[in-house]
C-alpha cells in the first residue's frame, strides 16, 4: 500500500471494505466449498493509523517511548527486588504516559486517521474531503459513545479507553495463567503484569478504535495494517511470549523471577513494535 494522502486513500479503501463486508454474508454460508478462498475479502479493511502532524505530537511521539524505556531501566533493580510494589507504583506513571501519547498523537476513535473499518460505513461522511488530520475535527463516536453527531472529547475518550483497558486486564490475566503462569501463587504479580500489558499494548487501540467490532476483528485476525498501535500490540505480545524463554534456565539470577522477564520482553517488544510499525519500514503493510 503506497503512502499516499491518507484522507483520499481512506475514502476509496473504506468503500472497498464496505463492499466486501456487504458481500460477505452471502458468501458465509458456502463454507464447505469455499474455505480455501482468500478470507481477506470477507473481512473489513482497516486503515493504518495516521499520527497527528502537530509539533507537540512529533515531540510526544518520540518522548513517550524514550520515557517508557527510561522508566523501565531506572526501575529495573527495584523491579527485580520487589516486583509487585514496583509494578504497582509504576503502573499509574505508564498509564499517564500512554494517555499523554494518545491525546497528543493518536487520532480519536471514529476520526479519519483512525482508519475506519467496515463499521465506519454507518458513520456519516467516511472519508469526507474536508476532514483534516486533526483530532476531534470530525464527527464520530468516542471511545465509548458512538452516537453520531456528538463531538468526541479526547479526554473522555482516553478515560473510557482506560476503563476498557482495565476491563480487559482480567482476560489477559487468564491468558497468562493458561500459558502456564502460576494460578494459586503470585496472583498480584501476574495481574500487574497483565495490567502493564493492557496499558501498553491495548490502550492505544482502544483509544483509536473504541468498540468498533469490525476493527477489532481485523486486529484479532492480524489483518490490520501495521502502524504505531498495531505494531505495538504485535511487538508487545511477541515480546511477552519470548520473555518466557529465559525463565527455566538454572542461572539462579534474581531477574529470572516471575514476571520480570515477561515484563522486560513486553517493554522491549512493545517499544520495538511501535517504532517499527510507525516507521516507513512497516507502516501500512500487512502480514
Amino acid at each position: 500500500m503506497p503512502l499516499v494522502d491518507p484522507v483520499t486513500m481512506s475514502s476509496s479503501i473504506a468503500k472497498g471494505g464496505v463492499a466486501a463486508a456487504r458481500s460477505s454474508p452471502s458468501a458465509a454460508t458456502g463454507k464447505a466449498t469455499t474455505t480455501s478462498s482468500s478470507p481477506t475479502t470477507a473481512v473489513a479493511k482497516l486503515l493504518p493509523v495516521q499520527l497527528q502532524q502537530t509539533p507537540a505530537s512529533q515531540y510526544t511521539r518520540h518522548a513517550v517511548p524514550a520515557l517508557l524505556a527510561a522508566l523501565f531501566v531506572a526501575r529495573f533493580q527495584s523491579l527485580v527486588a520487589d516486583p509487585v510494589a514496583t509494578m504497582y507504583s509504576s503502573l499509574p506513571v505508564v498509564a499517564a504516559l500512554q494517555m499523554a501519547y494518545a491525546l497528543a498523537c493518536l487520532p480519536i476513535a471514529g476520526a479519519a486517521g483512525s482508519g475506519g473499518a467496515g463499521a465506519s460505513a454507518r458513520k456519516p461522511r467516511p472519508g469526507d474531503k474536508k476532514k483534516t488530520a486533526g483530532s476531534g475535527s470530525s464527527a464520530g463516536g468516542g471511545g465509548g459513545g458512538d452516537a453520531a453527531g456528538r463531538r468526541p472529547y479526547p479526554p473522555v475518550t482516553a478515560f473510557l479507553s482506560l476503563i476498557l483497558t482495565a476491563l480487559a486486564t482480567p482476560f489477559l490475566f487468564a491468558a497468562m495463567v493458561l500459558f502456564g503462569a502460576p494460578l494459586l501463587t503470585h496472583p498480584a504479580h501476574t495481574l500487574l503484569c497483565a495490567a502493564h500489558l493492557a496499558v501498553l499494548a491495548l490502550f492505544p487501540l482502544f483509544y483509536v478504535h473504541g468498540v468498533d467490532t469490525a476493527a477489532w476483528a481485523a486486529v484479532a485476525a492480524c489483518q490490520a495494517p501495521f502502524d504505531d498501535t498495531f505494531g505495538g500490540l504485535v511487538g508487545g505480545l511477541a515480546g511477552a511470549w519470548l520473555g518466557a524463554v529465559p525463565i527455566p534456565l538454572d542461572w539462579d539470577r534474581a531477574w529470572q523471577r516471575w514476571p520480570v522477564t515477561i515484563l522486560a520482553g513486553l517493554y522491549a517488544g512493545y517499544l520495538l513494535g511501535r517504532a517499527l510499525g510507525g516507521s516507513w519500514l512497516l507502516w501500512g503493510k500487512k502480514f
Binding site: K31, S36, P39, L178, F179, G180, A221, Q223, P248, D250
Partner: protein, 1085 residues
C-alpha cells in the same frame, strides 16, 4: 458384497443441508427393485418385440453390473497392493530408526553386567582359582578364615574412620609454590606423611569417570568401574546391590555409622546405625557449611565412644560446594580448606592404635570448580591414610616424600577396596578390580615383600575369579595369546609355585602386571564411548529425518481438489468401466511408495550381506556396522531415486504460516534439549506450546468468513487451551525441579498411591467422556450404526470398570474394609482389569474390524411424490468409524494409568476432538501443524500421566494391574502402555486429522494418512536425533547421567514405539476402516 446401486446415480445438486448426502443405495431398494422388475416382466412378457428389447437392456445392464463389479474388485486389489507398499515404506523407516538408535546406543550407553556373586570369608579365591590348591604364601596365621583374625589376609586394624572430603583435588594437599587461594591451605596431611612416614602416607587418588559423587561412591565401595547402566536385577532403584565393602562390613557384623552427604543413604539403605548416623541434604550447593559443621559436630563425640561402632564414615561437602559456587580461586575455598586442615588435625589426635584413618577426595574439580567429566583436574583426588601405630612403609626411600603432582605414583580409587578389606580382615568384594596399595602392606621397613606378594596374589585371584564369571555370563571367549590377562596369570602363578627360591618382589610385580592388564581390558569394555558408532548412528538418524521429510513432501499434490467432486469421480468411473484397467488407477504416490521400497532394498541388501560375509570372514563381530552402512546406502539409493522425480529440496520447506509454526514447535524444543534446564522443564514448555497453538487458532478464526464457523472455531480453540491447562495440574515433579514444583499425581510427595478425592476422577470421566464424544459425532449425524452401542454402552462400561478397579485397588491398599478374606479385593480388581483389557483389545478389535460405517439410511420425502434416500452421517463416514480405534486404546490406557493419569488421558481425548474441529474449520487438515500438535499433545500427556524423562519415574507397579505376577511379554507391554499412553494414543489418533469429516467418496485417503503419519513421526525423529546429538556432544557434562541420557533414551524408545504402533495399529486400522467404508459405499480409492 452385491451393490444395491442400480441406475446411474441421479445428479441432484445438494442443497445447503450440510450432512446428509443423497445417494441411491439402500439394502431395501434392492428387494423393491427386484419385486418391481419381476412384476414388470410378468406383465409385459406377452409383447415379443418389447421382450426382445427388454432382454437387450437387461443384458446391457448385467454387463454394466459385471463391469462395475470388476472395477470395484480391481480397485480393492489395487488399494490392498498400495497399502502393502506403504507398509513397506514404514517398515523401512522403522529399520532406519532401529539401526540408527542401535548404533548410537551401542557406542554411547555403556552397559555392564552386574554379577550377584558375593565373596565369603571362608572361601578365599586363592583356593578355587586355576592355581594349585592350598598353596599359600604366608602360611597359616592366627584366626585365619575368620573376621577376627582376617579372612583372606592377616588383619591390621579393628576399626576404620573414613573421611570423604568431596572434590578434594590432589594439589590442594601438597605444597605448591604460588599464591593461589586453593594452594597451601591444607598442609597437615603432607607434613605428617613426610615427618612420620610409618604413620601416614599421601598419594594421588585417581577417579574413574564419570566423576559424579554417586558413581564415585559406587566405585569406591565395589571396586569396579560404574557405567551408566548397570544391568542388574533392579533397574530402577539407586541402591547398590552388588557385592561391596559396606555389605561385607555388615555381613561381618561390623557396625557402620554415617555422617554427612545423604547420597550414602540412597546407595546403602538400612546399612547404618540409625541412632548414631546423621545424613544431610546434599543438593543445596549454595550452603557451604551445614554438612561440614554437622559432620564435625557429631564425629568427635563418636571418637570418644569407639565401642559403639566399627566403621565410621564422614562425608564433607563444603569444598565441593565452594567449588561449584565460587570456583577454587576464592577466599571461601581457602577458608574451607583451612577448616578441613584443622578438622583432620584434631581428628588424627583422637585415633588409637587399632583404628585407621582414611581421608580422601572422591574426585577433583576443574578450573571453574565443577566436575563430572574426565579431565585431569577432575579425576585427580587425594588419599591419605594415618594410624598412630607404625605400620606403613615405603619400598623405596624416595617414596617417603609424597608425590609433587598427581602425575607421579598415583593409585586408582578402586585400589582402596582391596586395601581396606585386607587391612580390616574382611573378604574383598567379588567385583573388585583394584589392587592393594603398596604402602599399607610393605611393613614399616618397606621390605615385607612376601606380605605384599600375598596381598597382591589374593587380590589378583579375586580378579581372576571375577573375570572368569563375567566372561562366562557374557559369553566372552578368553584368548590366552601372549600378553593377555590369562597368559600373565599363568606366568605369575608359575613364579609362585615354580622353584623353591621364590623372589617375592618378582611375584608381587607379576600379579600387579596381571591386575593392570586386566583393568585395562575391562576399561575398554565399559568406560569408553565408541565415537565411530555414535557418529554413524547420528548420521543415519539425520538422513532418516531428511528422507521422512522428502517422503511427506512427495505426497499430496493436486488430488485434494478432486476429492469432493462427484462428477469427476463418476466420469472417471465410467471411463474405467469401459475397459480401462484398474492399474491406471495407481496414482503417482503409489509408485513413489513402490519406488522407495525397491530402491531401499536395492541399496541395503547387497551391502548388508557383504558386511555379514566380511565380518564372518574376518572373524570380527562388527556385522552391526555393516547394517549401519547398509542403511546409509539404502537411504542414499532412495534419495537418488526420488530426486529424479521431485525437486524435493524446495518441497520440504514449509510454505505457510502454519508450516512454520510446526517447525518452530519442533525445532525450538529440540534445540532446547541442549540445555538441562529446558529438558527439566519440558512439561511446562509443552503446555506453553499447546496454549500458543490454541491462541493462534483462536485469532486465526477471525479470518473465517462465516460467523458460526468463527464462533465454533474460537470456542474449540479456547476449550483446547483450557483443557490443556486443567490437565497441567497433574504433575509429577522430577528431583531437579525442586523446590519450584509440587507433585499432585499422588496423595503426597512421599507416596505412590492416590488420594481418595483422586479416585473420583475416573468416575467423572466415565460419566462425561462418552457424552462428550457423542456430542462431537452428532453434528454430522454420525452417532449412528454401532456408535450408540459401542460408545454409549461398551466404552462407558470399560471406563466404569476402570474407575472401579482403582477404587478397589485403593480399598485393598488402605484396608478400608476389615474382615474380608485375604486377597479378595486383589482378585476382584485383577479380574476387573482383565475384563477391561478384553473389552478394549479383543472385543474392541473385533468390533472395529466388523463394524459397519456409522451411518443410518432413511427414506425422506423431500419433494412431493419423490422419495429420496438420505444417508445420515455420510459427511463424516471415515472419521466417525475410525474413532472407535482411539477410543479402544483410550479405554485400555485409562485403566493402566493411575486415577490422575486417567483424568489426563480423558482430557487428551477431548482435546484431540477439539483439535479435529479446529483443523477442519480452519482448513488445516493437510497442513503439517495437525500431526505436530498431536505429537506435542502426546508428549504433554506423557508428563501429565505421572511420568518424567527419568528412569525413576517409570511406574513399574502398573505391570501388576491386570496380572498377578510377572509374565512375559505381557508385563513389559503393560508398562509401555502405562508409560507412553500419551504418545500411543496420539499415534493411533493421527489418521483422524485426515479422516475427520470426509465422506466416502474421498480419494487418496491412504496417501494422506501416510503423509500425516510421516509428519507426526518426523517430530519424534527430530527429537530423537536432537537428544542423541546433544547427549553425544555433552558426554562430559555433569548432568549427562541425570538429564541428557535419560531424555535420549526416552526419545529413542518413544520413536520406536511410535513407528511400531504406526504400522501395527494406525495403518492397519486405516486399512480396516477403508475396507468397511468402501464395501458399503463403493471404492473411491
Amino acid at each position: 458384497m452385491p451393490k444395491p446401486k442400480t441406475a446411474p446415480p441421479i445428479a441432484t445438486p445438494t442443497p445447503p443441508t450440510p450432512t446428509p448426502s443423497k445417494r441411491r443405495k439402500a439394502p431395501k431398494s434392492e428387494s423393491e427393485y427386484a419385486a418391481i422388475s419381476a412384476q414388470f416382466d410378468a406383465a409385459k412378457s406377452a409383447k415379443a418385440e418389447e421382450d426382445a428389447l427388454r432382454d437387450a437392456e437387461r443384458e446391457k445392464a448385467s454387463v454394466l453390473e459385471w463391469q462395475r463389479e470388476a472395477l470395484e474388485s480391481a480397485r480393492k486389489a489395487s488399494y490392498e497392493a498400495r497399502w502393502l507398499w506403504t507398509v513397506g515404506v514404514w517398515a523401512w523407516m522403522l529399520c532406519i530408526h532401529v539401526v540408527g538408535i542401535g548404533l548410537f546406543t551401542g557406542g554411547f550407553l555403556l552397559a555392564r553386567l552386574v554379577l550377584d556373586d558375593k565373596s565369603s570369608c571362608d572361601a578365599p579365591p586363592t583356593l578355587n582359582s586355576t592355581t594349585r590348591r592350598g598353596l599359600d604364601i604366608l602360611g597359616p596365621w592366627a584366626g585365619k578364615g575368620t573376621v577376627e583374625g582376617g579372612c583372606w589376609h592377616p588383619k591390621t586394624f579393628d576399626r576404620a574412620v573414613i573421611v570423604l572430603i568431596d572434590a578434594l583435588r590432589y594439589d590442594f594437599t601438597v605444597p605448591v609454590d604460588d599464591n593461589a587461594a586453593f594452594h597451601n591451605a591444607f598442609p597437615f596431611m603432607y607434613d605428617t606423611s613426610l615427618a612420620s612416614p610409618n604413620n601416614a602416607f599421601l598419594r594421588p587418588f585417581i577417579a574413574d569417570p564419570p566423576t559424579a559423587t554417586m558413581q564415585r561412591l559406587k566405585g569406591l565401595t565395589t571396586g569396579t568401574l560404574p557405567t551408566f547402566i548397570d544391568l542388574g536385577s533392579s533397574f530402577a532403584g539407586t541402591a547398590i546391590e552388588e557385592d561391596n565393602l559396606l555389605m561385607q562390613f555388615r555381613d561381618a557384623g561390623k557396625r557402620i555409622v554415617h555422617l554427612g552427604d545423604d547420597t550414602w543413604d540412597s546407595l546403602f539403605p538400612g546399612y547404618f546405625e540409625a541412632n548414631l548416623s546423621r545424613p544431610y541434604d546434599s543438593f543445596n550447593v549454595r550452603d557451604l557449611h551445614t554438612v561440614d559443621d554437622g559432620v564435625i559436630e557429631h564425629i568427635f563425640p563418636l571418637m570418644r565412644r569407639k565401642g559403639d561402632w566399627d566403621v565410621l564414615i564422614g562425608h564433607c561437602l563444603g569444598v565441593d560446594h565452594a567449588g561449584h559456587r565460587y570456583g577454587p580461586e576464592h577466599v571461601e575455598m581457602t577458608k574451607k580448606l583451612r577448616q578441613m586442615d584443622t578438622f583432620i588435625r584434631d581428628l588424627a589426635a583422637t585415633m588409637d592404635e587399632k583404628t585407621v584413618l582414611i581421608v580422601m577426595g572422591d574426585h577433583g574439580m576443574d578450573e571453574k570448580g565443577d566436575h563430572g567429566g574426565e579431565s585431569d583436574d577432575e579425576v585427580e583426588a587425594a588419599l591419605w591414610m594415618y594410624s598412630p601405630k607404625p605400620v606403613f612403609g615405603r619400598t623405596d626411600p624416595q617414596f617417603i616424600s609424597p608425590p609433587a603432582t598427581a602425575k607421579l605414583r598415583p593409585v586408582n580409587q578402586i585400589d582402596l577396596v582391596p586395601t581396606l578389606a585386607l587391612l580390616l580382615g574382611i573378604p574383598i568384594p567379588f567385583n573388585n578390580l583394584g589392587r592393594p596399595i603398596e604402602e599399607a602392606f610393605a611393613g614399616p621397613t618397606g621390605k615385607a615383600w612376601n606380605n605384599l606378594a600375598a596381598a597382591e596374589r589374593t587380590t589378583a585371584a579375586g580378579i581372576q575369579r571375577y573375570q572368569a564369571s563375567y566372561s562366562a555370563a557374557r559369553g566372552i571367549e578368553q584368548a590366552s595369546v601372549p600378553g593377555s590377562p590369562a597368559d600373565l596369570w599363568t606366568q605369575a602363578e608359575a613364579l609362585v609355585s615354580g622353584s623353591n627360591k621364590r623372589d617375592w618382589a618378582a611375584v608381587y610385580s607379576a600379579f600387579a602386571t596381571y591386575q593392570q592388564e586386566n583393568l585395562k581390558r575391562f576399561k575398554s569394555l565399559w568406560a569408553r564411548f565408541d565415537l565411530t558408532n555414535m557418529i554413524l548412528g547420528i548420521a543415519i538418524m539425520a538422513l532418516g529425518v531428511i528422507t521422512l521429510l522428502v517422503y511427506v513432501a512427495s505426497g499430496g499434490g493436486d488430488d485434494d481438489t478432486a476429492v469432493d467432486d462427484p462428477e469427476l469421480d463418476r466420469a472417471e468411473k465410467s471411463l474405467q468401466m469401459q475397459g480401462i484397467t484398474a492399474d491406471e488407477q495407481a496414482s503417482a504416490s503409489t509408485s513413489i511408495d513402490k519406488r522407495i521400497v525397491t530402491a531401499a532394498l536395492v541399496g541395503a541388501v547387497p551391502v548388508f550381506l557383504g558386511g555379514v560375509v566380511q565380518s564372518l570372514v574376518s572373524g570380527a563381530s562388527d556385522w552391526y556396522r555393516g547394517a549401519g552402512v547398509a542403511v546409509l546406502t539404502s537411504i542414499v539409493a532412495v534419495l537418488v531415486a526420488l530426486f529424479r522425480a521431485e525437486e524435493f529440496v524446495f518441497k520440504i520447506m514449509p510454505r505457510t504460516f502454519w508450516g512454520w509454526l510446526a517447525v518452530v514447535f519442533t525445532l525450538s524444543q529440540s534445540i532446547g534439549f541442549a540445555s538441562n534446564s529446558y529438558t527439566i522443564w519440558e512439561d511446562s514448555i509443552l503446555l506453553f506450546f499447546v496454549t500458543t497453538f490454541g491462541f493462534v487458532t483462536a485469532l486465526s478464526a477471525f479470518r473465517l468468513p462465516s460467523l458460526p464457523d468463527r464462533y465454533l472455531s474460537i470456542y474449540h480453540s479456547i476449550l483446547f487451551v483450557l483443557l490443556g491447562r486443567v490437565a497441567s495440574f497433574s504433575k509429577l515433579c522430577r528431583e531437579e525441579q525442586m523446590p519450584y514444583c509440587t507433585s499432585t499425581y499422588y496423595a503426597s510427595a512421599t507416596s505412590s498411591t492416590s488420594a481418595p478425592w483422586q479416585l473420583a476422577i475416573p468416575f467423572l470421566i466415565f460419566l462425561i467422556l462418552p457424552t462428550i464424544v457423542k456430542a462431537y459425532l452428532t453434528p454430522t449425524r454420525s452417532y449412528e450404526g454401532l456408535a450408540p452401542v459401542w460408545i454409549g454402552y461398551v466404552f462407558r462400561t470399560g471406563l466404569f470398570l476402570s474407575a472401579a478397579y482403582w477404587a478397589l485397588d485403593a480399598a485393598d491398599n488402605g484396608n478400608w474394609v476389615q474382615g474380608l478374606p485375604e486377597k479378595m479385593f486383589r482378585n476382584i480388581s485383577v479380574y476387573t482389569a482383565q475384563i477391561v483389557l478384553g473389552l478394549a483389545f479383543v472385543a474392541g478389535t473385533t468390533a472395529f474390524i466388523w463394524a459397519p460405517p456409522c451411518v443410518s439410511i432413511i427414506t425422506a420425502a423431500l419433494k412431493p411424490g419423490k422419495a429420496q434416500v438420505v444417508v445420515l452421517g455420510h459427511a463424516n463416514a471415515h472419521g466417525a468409524r475410525y474413532l472407535f480405534l482411539p477410543l479402544n486404546f483410550l479405554a485400555a490406557c485409562f485403566l493402566l494409568s493411575k486415577p490422575m493419569g486417567g483424568g489426563a488421558l480423558g482430557i487428551m481425548m477431548w482435546q484431540i476432538l477439539s483439535l479435529l474441529e479446529i483443523l477442519d474449520l480452519n482448513s488445516l487438515t493437510t497442513s503439517p501443524i495437525g500431526p505436530i500438535i498431536l505429537a506435542v499433545l502426546g508428549n504433554f500427556h506423557f508428563f501429565k500421566t505421572g511420568h518424567q524423562a527419568t528412569l525413576s519415574s517409570i511406574q513399574w507397579d502398573s505391570a501388576f494391574i491386570p496380572l498377578f505376577n510377572l509374565r512375559y511379554p505381557w508385563s513389559p507391554v503393560v508398562v509401555a502402555l502405562n508409560t507412553f499412553a500419551g504418545q500411543i494414543l496420539a499415534t493411533v489418533a493421527v489418521p483422524l486429522v485426515v479422516l475427520w469429516k470426509i465422506n466416502p467418496a474421498s480419494k487418496g485417503v491412504l496417501d494422506r494418512v501416510s503423509r500425516a503419519l510421516g509428519t507426526f513421526v518426523a517430530f519424534f525423529a527430530v527429537e530423537s536425533l536432537a537428544t542423541m546429538a546433544w547427549a553425544g556432544w555433552l558426554r562430559r557434562h555433569l548432568m549427562l547421567f541425570r538429564v541428557f541420557s535419560p531424555r535420549f533414551m526416552t526419545a529413542a524408545i518413544v520413536l520406536l514405539i511410535v513407528d511400531v504402533v504406526g504400522i501395527a495399529v494406525t495403518l492397519t486400522g486405516v486399512r480396516c476402516n477403508t475396507l468397511a467404508i468402501s464395501d458399503v459405499f463403493g471404492w473411491a480409492e
